[in-house]
Symmetry: C2
Subunit: 362 residues, 2 copies
DNA sequence: GCTTGTATCCAAAACGTTTTGGCTTAGAAT
DNA sequence: ATTCTAAGCCAAAACGTTTTGGATACAAGC
């Protein structure tokens, strides 16, 4: 007598059997080939037959078994999105915003998004498994780091994927990104144009490339406009950038020569605003607060209206573009990078045009 | 000549073929049956053979094709989580918190979570399709409404699912919930015990049952402690409860007899705190702010420390329980409801014990 | 009448597993 | 010597599709 496998896999059993292509064929006295071809829109089935098939399919509630389809076509019509779960860190409102776009776009093309979280050490293993077991057709890669092993692997495996963000091999894969450099260059320029002599820059986590790019942009702007690097007090938050906004701003407030605060995220900025207000400083009057605004839907900016100068950029749009791109690759159309456009949006009390205006300061 | 289907489904092509069970069998000169049984831990394969198989599998990088497994076992080892995408509404920080738990637990049991967003009208269709095409083994249902059609359908289809929240048929399915009634009953009791005579209650969206339950709890507490219903000014936010906190609080502030503010979510509460402070009122001194705290990881409560009295309850834990329960059903163990325990957590300036203490007010 | 073409249809193979129901062989029990 | 048991292996069927390579019938062209 043989016994079952070690990890007992009891069957769900008693699953009310769904109607199959065979049932349909029997019902209509045609071959299963005809059913399949009728339903998939081939031209070699007569119009009356096709109608008969479609009607019967609807009537009997026939839906092709996805697993059989996946097996024979070798396509799963799903894409994987592996989250880094380094204990508590992957939860980030920015991420949800992207996800909204991802899910929306995937739905349109009838793709499924399969989401997993994995600890950093085991992430790569998850990718490998998904590639080898045929679970998914492609991948979304988030928050790339320098020389990211996930990208190494996916390039090597030659499997469709898209990156949210860029690194040095950006010409070898599809990516979607905001213009981090341009936006922070312009924000810095704007602050300087308003006469500020010292700036606190609260950046994101430099383990991720977007933060590095932003830092470079800020210092480049300083240099190009003839200001010394000491103009900025540089502060780095850790990902996801919470708890940081308040504390780091308080730190910067200790130096009274600082009159402008530049934040890498609107989330940091709103916290910073609280700290600034508590310290008795008045945004738009004796201090300027600038930030990137990723248009987090849940975040109510009404209370801080007119107190923060920001550049808007839709993470949701980025999410949609991500899926569009990876699906394009799955269907073997050409690969390309997508730059998500940003909008300059100035708070109240703004004078002049977008770049020159806002909270003028001697 | 016949032409292809209307919606052209080009194959991804050139997929470097993965190693199959046949390859492995050929390599080792054993049958595929033996490979399968060796890898799945059956006892009718010799130990030397099993070792040989396992070694070769690792060496050649063999991973069983998931789609073939799904087809033959009729189990997908994945569960669906369909989000309502009524344009902008499904993005909610509470949701992410639950998701963190969901993904974490799913990973442990090697289940995949397939996520979709669907417009409200088409949600049910998504459920039907998933049931019929064998994509998933079970479902997670979020934010149940009264007589929820999704629950009707899933009960009818007799397919594993779990509900985050409860409604009147809670004995017929597995669910996970916080003790909404108990928590708000106690919070109200606490406010009254501190001598407050008028309370503003900013609740969540009553289209969802948790909000209704909370309202009932508040009014029951009033009644049980002999206070008239007019004690509370009732304000309802719309889901997801953003933009509401600030405005509704301002509205309530217009009535100076109100000295306590009770919020359905810490998100509302922090916004409300801003409004209260702006109005020159001092939390913990001339006004009390109480709330449910769902332990949103990204939300920095340090700045508001000691100013809000709350009951803590982990949405992440709820997420984990959701998955555990639905998997239990998929594997045909018994079904049960899970109540997520809450913690009373009082702000600074608290006197006395958890229920009687906090911000005493004449 | 014979060929060619066209419109419909279909049998069978294939996808990569798991599972069923054996079949050997070797040793123990009779 | 025969029967029984257990250990170890395997061929074949099955899961539900899609796709290949015809087959059939009928009309048109010669």
């Amino acid at each position: 007598m043989t016994t079952g496998p070690n990890r007992s896999r009891k069957h769900a059993g008693a699953q009310n059997r769904n109607v199959t292509i065979k049932d349909l064929a029997a019902e209509l006295n045609v071959s299963i080939t005809t059913i399949s071809r009728a339903l998939n829109g081939y031209t070699d089935v007569g119009e009356k037959t096709r109608k008969k098939v479609i009607d019967a399919a609807r009537r009997l509630g026939y839906t092709p078994n996805r697993n059989a389809q996946r097996l024979v076509t070798r396509r799963s019509h799903s894409i994987a999105w592996v989250q880094a779960d380094d204990d508590n860190k992957f939860v980030d409102p920015h991420f949800v915003e992207v996800m909204a776009g991802v899910l929306r776009e995937a739905r349109i093309d009838h793709y499924d998004i399969v989401m997993t979280s994995e600890t950093p050490e085991r992430q790569l293993a998850a990718y490998e498994r998904y590639v080898r077991d045929g679970s998914v057709d492609g991948f979304i890669v988030d928050l790339p780091r320098p020389n990211d092993p996930r990208i190494n692997f996916l390039l090597e495996a030659d499997v469709p994927f898209v990156v949210h963000g860029r690194e040095d091999r950006q010409d070898r894969y599809g990516w979607v990104d905001v213009d981090n450099y341009g936006n922070f260059y312009n924000l810095t320029k704007l602050i300087l144009a308003n006469g500020h002599k010292r700036i606190a820059f609260i950046n994101g986590d430099e383990r991720f490339l977007y933060a590095t790019t932003r830092r470079q942009a800020v210092y480049d702007a300083l240099r190009d406009l003839g200001h010394p690097p000491e103009t900025v007090m540089y502060l780095e938050g850790t990902h996801p950038m919470v708890e940081a906004g308040f504390q780091l701003t308080e730190l910067a407030l200790a130096d009274p020569s600082i009159t402008a605060f530049l934040y890498s995220s609107i989330l940091l900025a709103t916290e910073g605003l609280t700290a600034v207000s508590r310290a008795g400083r008045v945004p738009g009057q004796d201090v300027m607060i600038a930030s990137m605004n990723d248009e987090l839907q849940y975040l109510n900016l009404a209370p801080v209206d007119g107190q923060i100068t920001y550049v808007r950029s839709s993470l949701r749009t980025a999410g949609r573009a991500l899926v569009a791109e990876v699906i394009r690759q799955c269907e073997r159309k050409k690969t390309s990078g997508t730059l998500i456009p940003s909008l300059f949006d100035l708070g109240e009390g703004v004078s002049g045009d977008a770049i020159a205006g806002s909270v003028h300061f001697a």
